[in-house]
Symmetry: C2
Subunit: 110 residues, 2 copies
DNA sequence: CGTTTATTTAACCGATTGGTTGACGATTGA
DNA sequence: TCAATCGTCAACCAATCGGTTAAATAAACG
């Protein structure tokens, strides 16, 4: 049986999908706009979005012919709680988060 | 380029590996003892441990013919920080963590 | 209406994953 | 010394993954 946690961590293990989540932090986006910065086909991005959606990390809503993608951090909380158990981590450190985002965006060359 | 974050999330996406980490929360263990509760070969567990090790989630030290595995939550912190950015999560909630562990151990039928 | 735009689906590909078995090297202890 | 134990390695397998291209569906536009 594939648990929610399996799906969430598997979804997060791909840098393209993490970059997509980071983009969606800024704003909701249509599929085509999500795909624009990446050097891969729209079909590939569509698959990534399906994976993020099944993991519960994003929600997709179709309005007209456009499908809007929005972040849905609920599933992340589960995974976060799981991880928190493994160390006495400092309270949320947003500065460190910003540094990671910058690094990710640089590395992924998007 | 495969980043640390890729490796950590990929490592966490497998329920067997998460169960191993949970076991190592209790105590350091030899490879054979890690393998004992699982219905799979020692070689398979050895592979899982290699994956956890490469991700930086555990450290392995060989003493004599016994290889000891211990939790190394450093890499988890990185991933945790990354995730924390996506929601205003409550501060560390260890009760919730305990519930997750129970559920995981039940579901994985180890 | 016909065309363009938005997105998914299907078929395919090579690489990776998670497991197996069997052989192997290294260490231990009688 | 010799057998047992600890753990990895190599070869193999089916299933999944991340990507492609081409066709299909659906909505909007002129």
């Amino acid at each position: 049986m594939e648990t929610r946690l399996d799906l969430v961590f598997a979804a997060l293990s791909d840098p393209t999908r993490r970059a997509i989540l980071t983009m969606l932090l800024e704003d909701d986006m249509a599929v085509t706009d999500v795909a624009e910065p990446f050097e891969m086909s729209l079909a590939a991005i569509s698959k990534h979005l399906t994976i993020l959606s099944r993991a519960g990390l994003i929600a997709q809503e179709k309005r007209g012919r456009v499908k809007w993608c929005k972040l849905d951090p609920g599933a992340l909380r589960e995974a976060s709680v799981w991880m928190q158990g493994f160390g006495q981590f400092e309270p949320v450190n947003l500065d460190a988060f910003e540094r990671f985002l910058e690094e990710e965006l640089r590395d992924d060359s998007i």
